[in-house]
Symmetry: C2
Subunit: 332 residues, 2 copies
Amino acid sequence: MVNIEDVARLAAVGRSTVSNVMNRPHIVAPATRQRVLDAMENLGFVPNESARVLAGGPGRFVGVVVHDASNPFFGEIIRTVEDAALNLRYIVSTTNTGADPVRESTAVELLIQQRASGVLITPSALPADALGRLRRIGTKVVVLDAPGESGICSVAMDDTAGGRLAGQHFLDYGYRSFAFVGTPARTTQHAARLAGFRAALEESPLGRRLDVQVIEVPHEDIISGRQAAERLQHRDSPVAVLCGNDLIAMGLSFALQERGTVVPQDVAICGYDDIDMVRYLSVPFTTVRQPVHDMARTALDLLVEEMRDPEHEHQAVLFAPELVVRATTARQ
Amino acid sequence: MVNIEDVARLAAVGRSTVSNVMNRPHIVAPATRQRVLDAMENLGFVPNESARVLAGGPGRFVGVVVHDASNPFFGEIIRTVEDAALNLRYIVSTTNTGADPVRESTAVELLIQQRASGVLITPSALPADALGRLRRIGTKVVVLDAPGESGICSVAMDDTAGGRLAGQHFLDYGYRSFAFVGTPARTTQHAARLAGFRAALEESPLGRRLDVQVIEVPHEDIISGRQAAERLQHRDSPVAVLCGNDLIAMGLSFALQERGTVVPQDVAICGYDDIDMVRYLSVPFTTVRQPVHDMARTALDLLVEEMRDPEHEHQAVLFAPELVVRATTARQ
DNA sequence: CAGGGCAATTGGAGCGATTCAAGGAGCCGT
DNA sequence: ACGGCTCCTTGAATCGCTCCAATTGCCCTG
């Protein structure tokens, strides 16, 4: 493989000059610069990132850790981040954790091994020590889709507000029986949504007479949503169900339809995320929209800023959710 | 950051011994090994992967390049590969190309910079020179979901056979008017599916009187499928449409339903991939199933074998597709 | 008991970049 | 003509690790 020395020899300059052309082009005389550039071109030179990082150069490796890339919500995040990062010539590495804390720490561990210069993470239950270790090797961290602790940048949705929005909407529409399907025990996001949901109900005139049937499911996907259908109890009055995300809502809705339960007459459903798909289903979903694109973009901007500017001040950005009413809820 | 030397000092051994504990544990005396292990633990030592790679050690970095991770088909591939690779302590980095040749080469370029030791790629149009350059730096490559050229390992579905299967099925069911929706001009996979589809029709007794209306769409997603609905011409006889993948099929189907077109009475649809979701829709999809899990697993196994064994013989594995008949096609 | 063989350990020479301090060349004003 | 500048350019030291060749004991055997 051709290295910096080969380039230097062909261009008849010193190794450092070649390095300068790559990292501080402005201090190299135009003629020399061009000569070096040509030499690189001729030789098909590609700098060795490992050597670069080892020598203490600016790393160009950022890791993105998400629950599940095939969930369109995360898909959109990844796409946004990749687009922006590739333009800045960063190398983006995505890892899925399946919201599993063990895989999450494995993923972080591997990122540490790589001495990633930045990490964008959607934690399920982020162990503080993992963050500490990342910090110690100088890796910048931005927490995405979860409230950040102090001393760390974070970009999140106000999940409590989102849950509230859904609860309020159900109450407005006259529902009196409620359920939540998701993974509140395993992910902070769902827990907050559930909390907001409960809060809205409790604050209503009917007060604490309103109870929420909580159905904890194993994953955040369609299959889990389907499974929840069997456990959902609905007798006389229609049940209003808030789902932890749209995929779960889809699964639940499909399974209910198969059993002859009609949405929204028998069961009302509110999803979460507003992924593209749910707007196109035969019964378009009422859901809580997250400004995914903006979140992702902001998160990357914060990360880049933090990587470039050592004096950077941490900030926690909170986005507001928005309720999108479609056909899976109806006025009673 | 703590390095190998710190560990060596604490354990009162030489640097090399620490290295040996990590890479060739069997040649270190058990007592010594334990002492080193303890020291690592105490110091919270994490080997620096960059240094390792630079020193010519066995790299543990593999790249996975796919069209779109949020497509469940690729999602499943990624999940499978990640599971297996993480167990082997490989670092998996996923990149999306959106089937765009430019992003594809950018992705490969970055992988070269990283000196990845292995790459699993789903090419749209893989430029031969990119492969060559990867090869030159010693990166092992396995092509996934596309026919491999000689001198390279590949795992693929027999897409032509898949297209044939669909065509045959439509003929059996009595359809006489056909269309294909997908990206045949931009991806080899869709092109092969279309070719097989055409072949089946041409080989039928009705011969070449059967024409296929080809609708090229910009992406392989739901939105593109929806757009295709406007361009699909169907007059008297029902049209049988083969879609390049299930997402396109879903989009097409949703859009048609909105305009009052009934599936399968007015338009029959056959998807491709058999992603989980399509089985649960209100009208479950007829589709061509790909053994994704096996493909992904086989691809990774090949890659690992190739990375470990320099004498490795390239092979091209071809999986057979399978038709799954559900409710979007009906006997005429 | 010398010598051979084996197991365990280790210092040193890179790997390919970066950064820094120092050196050389040309130009200016005096 | 010369000191003092600015601009460019460069050799050397370094990063943390792996591998190799060499070394050290130790046990066994003839």
